[in-house]
Symmetry: C2
Subunit: 318 residues, 2 copies
């Protein structure tokens, strides 16, 4: 790799970016003196293969496009593939690593989208789905954030404007790291729930977290307690939630994840307010931002050797 | 009136305040050394009459209770009636003025409730009513406020957290008065709409404003333009809105006021997102705040002669 040598990049989108995003991506590459080609809305893998042979790209930007060893072998000069978005389950990481292809994603570009969704649903729940009856305000209430990553930080920023008190707990962050923006660090999961009205989950699904949000925690919440889940269905003990809701008619569940057990919340009516399909990250801005971030990461990789967002280790074979 | 003499206040609520509000009201009067009695959830005017004759109150706090000359004449010592809330159309102002009774309301106590409702509906619209499809974010968009009173100021505060740019126009305020919080003052109604995505109305219904929000203004809005009306139905030219929406499929209308012409927006589906019944001010907090404000205004009136929120002029007969 010669630093500064002009590169050729190919935007591979089975489902094309919005026009402004494409323009912005082209702008990033133009500024770097790179060539930018694209293949949009293609129907067959063979169309992509032909394009790869024609363009001979150094770098690819992809979305949910399937990246396979067949793709990698169409042009052996591919050095980097960046997924514009978070999920890389459509990319064969092992095959990429075997060929020394760097794979990156663009984390955090959808975190504002998720936080805005959560607040929209919190307000909708607080105002009884706009049915004309008297509700309550978010102002001066407390919001607890379990996990303090990008989405949680955006929630904190928005919560401040509603004059909410924000508590946070993240087992991987120090008190100082949490309190830098003004959130109050607490030192246990229990403290997030105890007497608090809103608790929002921002934790991965692991052996330790699965089913960890249980009846006991939910019953600790204040009047009109609301659990918000834009993370993973697995972390909630669904049977425990239904039991807690049976004992406390004031509790509500807001969720952007389909339950593990289909229909488990049907008896709760609007108290279980679940999106029709996971959509927190689904905004035109999040998609566009991810595309622009992908282009910038490609330039930074070639120009400065920056591999910060690499998801496969060099030589890693999984 | 002897300043500092202990007074007797009667809370008159056909529909009672929530218990915490009553407690807070009693606290305000106790601190002032006043007696506080109450008549809650009464069924007949005659029950109220009997209570007035029994308690002989110097002051009344009321909600939507009907205040008539019959009420005023049950005890001639009533000096002040404070409506916990904004609307005084249930109070006979002429009869009160004729008897030198001061009538006040408690403006501004519900302005946060209205602003939160508007943002909830804006987010719900932006995210397609949580149907699982891709929407857009409020972040980095522009919000114009037509009229810059208490509700608009609360909208500005919340909008800042969404990183929105806020423009405002109020014919009764100077550029300096508007810009003190950081909003951008513009000098015409047209400038509020021109290329802007969100325009929120905070104007009264007057001869000049009625039907002033018309097709021409709406067509000036940017892509995905949203008109927000938590004010008055009269100010919108409803036929003009329907015409504009016919020409521009991207426009949306969010409203907490029933249309003047029943059914006029039916053809627009969810693009006209209207609450089931005006509810912007309907939160437990707004109702409680209004009750507490009413108690404080009564004490300030007797102790300092403060009549700032009086809605009937002394001797005014309408």
């Amino acid at each position: 790799m010669t630093a500064g040598a002009p590169k050729t990049c190919l935007v591979v989108t089975e489902k094309a970016f919005a026009a402004p995003a494409v323009k912005a991506i082209e702008g990033v590459f133009a500024d770097a003196g790179y060539a930018c080609q694209k293949i949009e809305n293609y129907k067959e893998a063979s169309d992509l293969y032909a394009k790869l042979e024609e363009v001979k790209p150094d770098a690819l930007i992809v979305r949910s496009d399937k990246m396979t060893p067949e793709v990698y072998d169409k042009y052996s000069g591919i050095r980097i593939i960046v997924r514009a978005g978070a999920g890389v389950d459509t990319i064969d990481l092992k095959g990429a690593s075997e060929r020394d292809i760097v794979v990156m994603n663009t984390p955090g570009q959808n975190s504002n989208a998720v936080a805005e969704l959560a607040f929209g649903m919190m307000l909708t729940n607080a105002r009884n789905h706009y049915d004309g009856t008297s509700g309550y305000e978010l102002k001066d209430k407390t919001l607890s954030l379990y996990g303090y990553g990008q989405v949680a930080r955006n929630m904190h920023r928005i919560a401040k404007a509603f004059n909410m008190t924000v508590k946070a707990y993240d087992p991987f962050l120090s008190k100082e790291q949490i309190e830098v923006d003004g959130a109050i660090a607490v030192d246990s999961v229990e403290a997030l729930f105890d007497g608090v009205q809103f608790v929002s989950l921002h934790i991965p699904s692991t052996e330790k977290t699965n089913k960890s949000i249980n009846k006991e925690l939910l019953l600790k919440m204040s009047k009109n307690g609301v659990l918000i889940n834009t993370a993973r269905a697995e972390v909630v003990d669904e049977a425990g939630l239904v039991e807690a809701f049976g004992e406390r008619a004031d509790l509500a569940y807001i969720s952007d994840v389909a339950p593990m057990e289909k229909g488990v919340f049907d008896s709760l009516g609007k108290r279980a307010f679940v999106t029709a399909k996971k959509m927190g990250a689904q905004t035109s801005e999040a998609n566009n931002n991810a595309g622009i971030a992908a282009a910038k990461q490609i330039v930074a990789f070639f120009e400065q050797g920056d591999a910060k967002f690499q998801v496969n280790k060099p030589g890693q074979t999984f």
